[in-house]
C-alpha cells in the first residue's frame, strides 16, 4: 500500500509537475531566489521586485501554457494528480492565470507606491507569492486536506502582510485581529473537516456526494440519521471557514478592521485574490456535495441558505459602508457586499445542479459559473483600481479619509477618472465591466428562481442592493468631482507612470464591459471552465 502510494506520487510528480503544477513551482522558486538574493546581497544589483515580477510572469506564462494546452486539446478530460489531491482542469487554470495576472499587477502597484522598502522587499514579496501559491492550491483542491492547506497557506502570509507596516498601531492591531479571527475560523473549519471526512470515510471532495448518499441510504432514518446530521454539521463548520475567507456576514468582522489597518495595496490584494481562491474552493466544495439524487433536497436547501446569507451579506455591506469615513474601510464593506453578490451565483448554482432538470440546464449552469468567474475577473480590475487610487492618493495626502479626495478632479483627472470608472463599475452601471458581470449573475439567479421561488427574493434583494450601494459610492464621487478642493489640502500631482498604470486598469474595466472580443472570449472561457469543474459530477 505504502509503495503504491510512493509509486503514484513518483509518477505524478515526474509526469505532471511541469504540466500541472508549473505556476506554483515557479512561484516557489522565485521565493527561494529572492531570499537567496538577499543572502548574497544581490538585491543591490537586481531589485527584488524585478525578481518577483519575473517570477510572477513566469508563473503566468506557465499557467498560460497549461491553458493553451487545454484549449488546443479542446476539452482534455479533467484529471487529478498528486494522489488525487489536486485537480487539473480549465477551472484551476483559469484561476492560476487570474492570480498570476493579479500578482503582477499588485507587484507593479507596490513598486509604484513604494510600500515595501528595499530592506523588507524580499520578505514582503515572499509573503505575497506564498499567499498566491496557497490561493492557487485552493483553486485546484480536490481533497479536504488540500482545502485546509490551501486556506492556511493563503491565510498565514496574509496575516503577516496585514501587519507589515511595522511600528504602526493600527497595522499591528489589524494583524492581531486578523490572525486570531483567522486561526479561530481555521480551527472550526478543521473540526468540520474532521467530521465530514470521518463520517464519509474519505477526504476526496469528488467522492463526497456519493459517499453521503450511501451513508444516507444505509442509515436507519434517512436524513434524520445521526451520521448525516454529523456530516451536515461538518459542512456547516467548513462553511464557517470559507465564509471567513469570503467575509460573509456574520463572519466578516475581521474584514473592515484588517483592511483599515493594512496598507491599501495589501487590502486590494486580499480583497480580490483571497476572495477569488475562496470562491473557487467554495464552488468545488459545493459541486462535490451535489449531483446525486439523494443529496439533491439537502443541497437545494443549502443553496437557498447560501442565498439568504448572500442577501444578508450584500445588504449589510452596502448599508454599513454608508457611514464610513475611511475610504479603505468603506471599500472593505464594499468588498463584503460584492462577496454577497458573487455568493448569489453560487446559491443559484446549487439550486440548479440539484434540480431534477440539471442535465437540461447544462448551458445555464456553465453560464452561472462563467458569470461568477467573469465577475471575479472584472472585480480584479475594478477593485484593484480603486485600491490603487487610494494608495496613490495616500502617498500625497497621507490620509485615507473620503474627505481627502475632495476636489481631486481638478488636480489629477487621470486618477479621478479611473476611480470614477471603477466605482461606477462597482455600482454596476453600463458600459463598464461590473455591469456585465452583475448582469450574468442576476441572469443566473433569475434562472434559478424559476426552479425555486426563494431565488426571486435573492434577485430582488440583489437589485435593491444595487440601489443601496449608490449612496456610498456616490459619496466618494461627489467628494472627488462635485466638491471644491480645500485650500489647505496637499496637492496631488501624478507622475506619468502611475497615471498609465491606473489608466490601464480603468481601460480594462471599460473594455470588459464593451469590447466584443474580450467580453466574448472571457465569457466563453469562463463558461468552459464552468463546464470543466462540473465534470466532477457525472451528469
Amino acid at each position: 500500500m505504502f509503495s503504491d502510494l510512493l509509486n503514484k506520487l513518483n509518477s505524478d510528480t515526474t509526469g505532471s509537475l511541469q504540466h500541472h503544477f508549473g505556476a506554483e513551482l515557479w512561484l516557489s522558486v522565485t521565493i527561494v531566489v529572492m531570499l537567496l538574493f538577499r543572502l548574497l546581497s544581490l538585491d543591490r544589483f537586481v531589485p527584488t521586485f524585478i525578481v518577483a515580477l519575473v517570477g510572477a510572469a513566469a508563473a503566468g506564462w506557465a499557467a498560460f501554457g497549461q491553458f493553451s494546452e487545454i484549449v488546443a486539446a479542446d476539452g482534455v478530460a479533467p484529471l487529478t494528480f498528486f494522489g488525487d489531491m489536486l485537480r487539473h482542469d480549465l477551472f484551476s487554470v483559469f484561476f492560476r492565470i487570474f492570480l498570476a495576472l493579479f500578482l503582477i499587477l499588485t507587484i507593479a502597484l507596490t513598486v509604484l507606491t513604494g510600500i515595501p522598502d528595499n530592506e523588507d522587499a524580499p520578505d514582503f514579496y515572499s509573503l505575497l507569492l506564498g499567499a498566491t501559491i496557497g490561493m492557487m492550491i485552493m483553486a485546484s483542491a480536490n481533497n479536504l486536506l488540500m482545502l485546509f492547506l490551501g486556506v492556511e497557506m493563503a491565510s498565514v502570509p496574509s496575516y503577516a502582510m496585514v501587519g507589515f507596516l511595522k511600528g504602526r498601531k493600527p497595522s499591528s492591531e489589524a494583524a492581531l485581529k486578523y490572525v486570531v479571527y483567522g486561526a479561530g475560523a481555521a480551527g472550526v473549519m478543521l473540526y468540520g473537516i474532521s467530521l465530514v471526512a470521518g463520517v464519509l470515510g474519505t477526504g476526496d471532495m469528488s467522492l463526497m456526494a456519493e459517499r453521503l448518499s450511501i451513508v444516507a441510504e444505509s442509515g436507519s432514518a434517512g436524513f434524520g440519521d445521526p451520521e448525516v446530521r454529523t456530516v451536515a454539521l461538518g459542512v456547516m463548520l467548513v462553511m464557517v471557514g470559507l465564509a471567513f475567507k469570503l467575509s460573509l456576514v456574520p463572519f466578516h468582522f475581521w474584514c473592515p478592521d484588517a483592511f483599515e489597518g493594512a496598507s491599501a495595496e495589501v487590502a486590494g490584494f486580499l480583497s480580490v485574490a483571497s476572495k477569488a481562491g475562496a470562491f473557487a474552493l467554495l464552488v468545488r466544495f459545493c459541486i462535490g456535495l451535489s449531483g446525486v439524487p439523494a443529496t439533491a433536497e439537502l443541497m437545494t436547501a443549502f443553496g437557498i441558505g447560501l442565498g439568504a446569507i448572500a442577501c444578508v451579506t450584500a445588504t449589510f455591506g452596502n448599508l454599513a459602508a454608508y457611514t464610513q469615513r475611511n475610504i479603505k474601510r468603506l471599500l472593505a464593506y464594499s468588498t463584503i457586499a460584492h462577496a454577497g453578490y458573487m455568493l448569489m451565483a453560487v446559491a443559484a448554482l446549487l439550486v440548479m445542479i440539484n434540480s431534477g432538470s440539471a442535465k437540461a440546464l447544462t448551458h445555464d449552469i456553465n453560464a452561472c459559473i462563467g458569470g461568477l468567474l467573469y465577475y471575479l475577473a472584472v472585480y480584479l480590475f475594478m477593485n484593484l483600481g480603486a485600491f490603487a487610487v487610494v494608495a496613490l492618493v495616500r502617498n500625497y495626502t497621507f490620509n485615507e479619509d473620503v474627505d481627502s479626495f475632495k476636489g481631486l478632479i481638478g488636480q489629477s483627472p487621470a486618477l479621478c477618472i479611473t476611480m470614477l470608472v471603477c466605482l461606477f463599475s462597482l455600482i454596476g452601471v453600463p458600459p463598464f465591466g461590473g455591469w456585465v458581470g452583475k448582469f450574468m449573475i442576476f441572469a443566473s439567479v433569475y434562472k434559478a428562481a424559476q426552479l425555486h421561488w426563494a431565488m426571486y427574493v435573492v434577485l430582488a434583494v440583489g437589485g435593491l442592493n444595487t440601489v443601496f450601494s449608490v449612496f456610498y459610492y456616490l459619496r466618494i464621487i461627489r467628494a472627488m468631482v462635485l466638491e471644491e478642493r480645500p485650500a489647505d489640502a496637499p496637492s496631488v500631482k501624478l507622475p506619468s507612470m502611475e497615471g498609465y498604470y491606473v489608466c490601464v486598469l480603468a481601460g480594462m474595466v471599460l473594455l470588459l464591459g464593451l469590447a466584443p472580443g474580450l467580453v466574448n472570449g472571457l465569457t466563453a472561457i469562463a463558461s468552459k471552465a464552468g463546464d470543466s469543474v462540473m465534470a466532477v459530477i457525472g451528469r
Partner: protein, 102 residues
C-alpha cells in the same frame, strides 16, 4: 471497556469546546492562541479516531500530521504578530485592540 469511536469523538468535542471557550474568553492574546491550538487538537483527535474506525484509514493520520505542522507554522506567525502588537501597545490584552472599529 474498550473505548469506541464515540468516546474519542467526545474527547475531540470537549477539546473543541474548551478551545472555543478559551478563544472567546481569554483576554491575553497568547491565551487566545492557545484556544486555537486546543481546537486544532480536538480535530486531530477526531482524525486519528476516524482513521482507526472508518474507511478514512491512513488518510486521517496524514491529516493530523499536516495539521500539527500547520499549527506550528501558524503559531509562529501568530506569536510574531502578537509580539508586534506588544511592541506597539505595550500590552497583549486583546481588549486593547479596539481602535479599529465602526
Amino acid at each position: 471497556m474498550q473505548p469506541d469511536l464515540t468516546s474519542y469523538l467526545l474527547v475531540g468535542a470537549v477539546l473543541f469546546v474548551c478551545g472555543v471557550v478559551c478563544m472567546a474568553t481569554k483576554r491575553n492574546g497568547i491565551g487566545v492562541l492557545m484556544g486555537v491550538e486546543l481546537v486544532l487538537n480536538g480535530a486531530n483527535v477526531n482524525f486519528v479516531a476516524f482513521s482507526k474506525y472508518t474507511a478514512l484509514g491512513l488518510d486521517g493520520q496524514v491529516f493530523s500530521l499536516f495539521v500539527i505542522v500547520l499549527a506550528a507554522a501558524e503559531a509562529a506567525v501568530a506569536l510574531a504578530i502578537a509580539l508586534n502588537f506588544y511592541n506597539n501597545h505595550l500590552t497583549i490584552d486583546v481588549d486593547r485592540a479596539n481602535k479599529l472599529k465602526g
